[in-house]
């Protein structure tokens, strides 16, 4: 039973895709075996840390690893970017959480990933491919320097449409325009899966609505436990309230109230700003002495 009761959550690989995006492979054989496309984990990087939800970007049952792709945008993720080196351990990782994406019998699908959504849509693209579907990938990045996993997607997609905001690679424009191109090329698309920032998913849902194509989105609201216990992640789906952690995270994009989601994501904006400022200040202080430990042991003033 050692494999059940001795979790260490070691980071066994890391790759940096840009100065904000990095990939971690975490050793967790049971989770690697249990994970399905569309599921997420809750990560705590240290004992005083917050619990943040991260969609599983890949999993390898044989290697016993789970892959996370993280964008360093706030205090916690920036700190992880600095501390999560190979050989380090996460304080906690729980999951897989959420209902796996229902990879139905659609024969032709579009899998859309924008920004931080590129990695998490990969398991779905692969899942659809394995289920025998014709998979069209649509990936969006701000510019060519931020592109990652193009080869991974090419391996599981029958077609790949790359979009960049500035046109430095692929087509110039947003992924929603990429989706429209796919729709104009293929009249028989049965399903679109879109993962990324809320505005991007909203744009994709708006793009497919006139065509009546089923569009699934993966919602990532603020969570604490990830097990349905706190209700912090509640989202409006049609006229119903759902908890993204246990009723989702995948929902019908045409039913999602994205405006409500955007408002709720702003709940802790001020606190996020305070935390990030303190962190940046802390980093600035740490860069001076090489032995960072000395500084970190100082009592921290309350901001």
């Amino acid at each position: 039973m050692a494999h059940v009761t001795d979790f260490r959550y070691s980071i066994v690989a890391r790759e940096d895709y840009s100065d904000v995006t990095f990939m971690l492979e975490v050793c967790h054989p049971l989770m690697a075996r249990a994970a399905r496309p569309g599921q997420f984990v809750i990560v705590m990087s240290h004992a005083d840390g917050e619990r943040i939800p991260l969609t599983i970007a890949d999993f390898d049952a044989e290697a016993g690893t789970v892959t996370l792709v993280i964008q360093a945008v706030g205090k916690t993720t920036k700190e992880m970017q600095r501390t999560c080196r190979v050989g380090a351990e996460l304080y906690g990782i729980a999951g897989p959480m959420g209902i796996p994406s229902p990879l139905g019998h659609a024969k032709k699908v579009v899998c859309v990933g924008g920004g931080l959504g590129v990695a998490p849509v990969f398991p779905q693209a692969r899942g659809f491919k394995e289920a025998g579907a014709y998979v069209i990938g649509v990936l969006g990045f701000r510019n060519r320097d931020l592109i990652f996993w193009e080869d991974k997607f090419r391996a599981v997609c029958d077609e790949l449409i790359l979009c960049t905001d500035d046109g430095s690679a692929g087509m110039k424009g947003f992924v929603s325009q990429g989706v429209l191109r796919a729709i104009s090329d293929h009249a028989d698309i049965e399903e679109v899966v879109a993962i990324g920032p809320p505005l991007m998913m909203k744009a994709c849902a708006d793009a497919t609505r006139p065509f009546g194509i089923k569009t699934m989105v993966s919602l990532n609201p603020i969570m604490v436990d990830g097990t349905g216990m706190c209700g912090g992640c509640r989202v409006k789906i049609g006229d119903k309230v759902k908890f993204a952690c246990v009723d989702g995270p995948d929902f019908d994009g045409h039913q999602v109230d994205f405006d409500d989601l955007l408002v709720r994501l702003r709940r802790y904006k001020e606190e996020e700003r305070v935390a990030l400022e303190r962190f940046n200040e802390d980093c600035r202080m740490r860069t001076v002495p090489e032995g960072a430990k000395v500084v970190s042991d100082l009592p921290r003033a309350r901001g």
Partner: protein
């Protein structure tokens, strides 16, 4: 005993307990109730009449032998008192603090018919705290029996079941989805009512019994209940995951920023220690005026947490009256002392927002009580035209929970129509070897009821595994000795 005690001979007044000053304590998370010291406990112990047919034992959900433990306490045999309690309740320090004694043991105490009842809860806590301080734990001399038991959820139900199965010689692993064990004792009940150090101590006791805790493990998703039996080698499983899916009011404005469930508030504050933000990363901003909807223990905890987090004004909004409020009497009393405003017979009909999606107020309606409903409590009905608004910037819902869906989503265990797990009289579920108890079976209840369920499930589990069980033995008559009189006291080794 030299002389038989009578209602006239015992101390007439219930020994008061010291409490922190309400003004001072409302700014910190120190425990409010200081507990009895030795002389106070001895004085209060003199008030027990040692009734030949004690009603308090029947009033206790786990049937603690209350007169015996009080007798031993009175004789300064504190270890003996602890052993007596620990025979049926492994968490005296917890239960002494959080049980609704007025509805249980103390509610039926015979002394209570003419005087204030014996302060059984405070005496239990005295013994429990003494045990923690002295490091007492009853580790029985039991040969490992080779059976492996998995417990899903590390709250009071799971802890109780784990303890009993470990004492029976099973190898027990408790799985917890959070990063720290304890369930509602950890994330729910705040430090000023149940310090985390007490929870830690009780969990350490379980570890001494050989129970292993595995945190960060979401059973159902990481592996299923069925897999625990079929692949992971567990011979029996207990599911005590709690109710855990908070009810929202379902009124306009529910999704505004500043509306949150009591579970979220308490988890952020107690488990994630948001009160230390930004020294910890989890934030919990509160406005100036917080309204908490509901009047159960969770509502009282939420109210008092908000006060301690610095809210200027904290109001309780409840659609019935104080008499129907489900919270422990002491909690309401403490909340009142600390300056919580109570709005009885008041029901929210809408949460009002500003143009940024933040709460700016709440629209309520006055209620009046009509004839009793199914719960026996008088049904509140709105008074027509009595709507009024008041300014709040944070609204906390403490109106109960629904069944958490995860086990239902991931296993074939039969559920009832409300989504709770179906269990028979022995708390066996529809899956062989799988037992369940606590809130996930009954819906939201109390810590001691959950513990009682965990112990009851353990009896059924032992029977299922073919293990000798003192509960089974106690029902029979052997050698002419009625089972109930037989001595099952444990051999003490620690």
């Amino acid at each position: 005993m030299a002389k038989k005690r009578t209602i006239r001979s015992i101390p007439q007044e219930r020994t008061p307990v010291r409490e922190l000053d309400p003004v001072e304590r409302a700014t910190n998370f120190e425990e409010v109730n200081c507990g009895y010291d030795e002389s106070e406990a001895l004085l209060e112990a003199e008030r027990c009449l040692f009734c030949p047919e004690p009603r308090c034992v029947q009033g206790c959900p786990v049937g603690i032998d209350i007169p015996t433990f009080i007798q031993k306490l009175g004789a300064k045999d504190y270890r003996g008192a602890y052993d007596t309690i620990a025979n049926t309740n492994l968490l005296p320090a917890v239960c002494g603090r959080v049980c609704p004694q007025e509805n249980q043991c103390e509610g039926v105490c015979i002394v209570g018919e003419s005087l204030a009842p014996v302060a059984i809860g405070r005496l239990e806590r005295f013994v429990g705290d003494r045990a923690i301080a002295e490091g007492w734990v009853n580790v029985p001399l039991v040969e490992p029996n080779g059976f492996r038991v998995g417990v899903v959820g590390s709250g009071p139900a799971g802890m109780a079941c784990a303890a009993d199965m470990a004492k029976a010689g099973c190898e027990v692993t408790v799985f917890e989805a959070f990063h720290q064990p304890g369930g509602v004792l950890r994330y729910g009940i705040p430090d000023f009512r149940l310090p985390n150090s007490v929870v830690d101590a009780e969990i350490e006791n379980l570890k001494k019994l050989g129970v292993r805790f595995q945190c960060n493990t979401l059973v159902g998703r990481l592996f299923t209940i069925e897999q625990m039996i079929e692949e992971l080698g567990f011979h029996a499983v207990f599911v005590g995951t709690g109710a855990g899916y908070p009810t929202m009011l379902g009124i306009p404005g529910d999704s505004l920023n500043g509306v949150l469930s009591a579970n979220e508030l308490l988890t952020r504050c107690n488990l994630m220690r948001a009160r230390d933000f930004p020294n910890v990363d989890t934030p919990l901003p509160l406005g100036k005026h917080v309204a908490v909807v509901g009047a159960g223990n969770t509502a009282m905890d939420a109210l008092r947490v908000c006060l301690r987090l610095g809210a200027e004004k904290v109001s309780c909004v409840y659609r019935r009256t104080r008499a129907e409020a489900p919270a422990r009497a002491e909690e309401i009393h403490h909340a009142e002392q600390e300056g919580i405003e109570f709005h009885w017979l008041t029901n929210p009909v809408e949460v009002l927002g500003d143009d940024q999606g933040n709460v700016r107020g709440m629209r309520c309606v006055r209620m009046e009580l009509a004839e009793p409903d199914a719960s026996g409590r008088r049904r509140p009905v709105p008074v027509a035209g009595s709507e009024f608004d008041f300014e709040v910037d944070e609204v906390v819902y403490a109106i109960g929970t629904n069944a958490n869906p995860i086990i239902g989503q991931t296993s074939s265990i039969r559920l009832n129509r409300w989504g709770y797990l179906e269990a028979d009289a022995d708390l066996a579920t529809s899956l062989a070897g799988v037992f369940a108890g606590g809130d996930i079976v009954t819906g939201a209840a109390t810590v001691i009821e959950a513990m009682g369920a965990g112990r009851k499930a353990a009896v059924g589990m032992k029977r299922y595994l073919g293990l000798p069980s003192e509960e089974d033995a106690a029902a029979e008559t052997e050698f002419g000795i009625p089972g109930g009189r037989r001595n099952f006291a444990r051999v003490r080794v620690a």
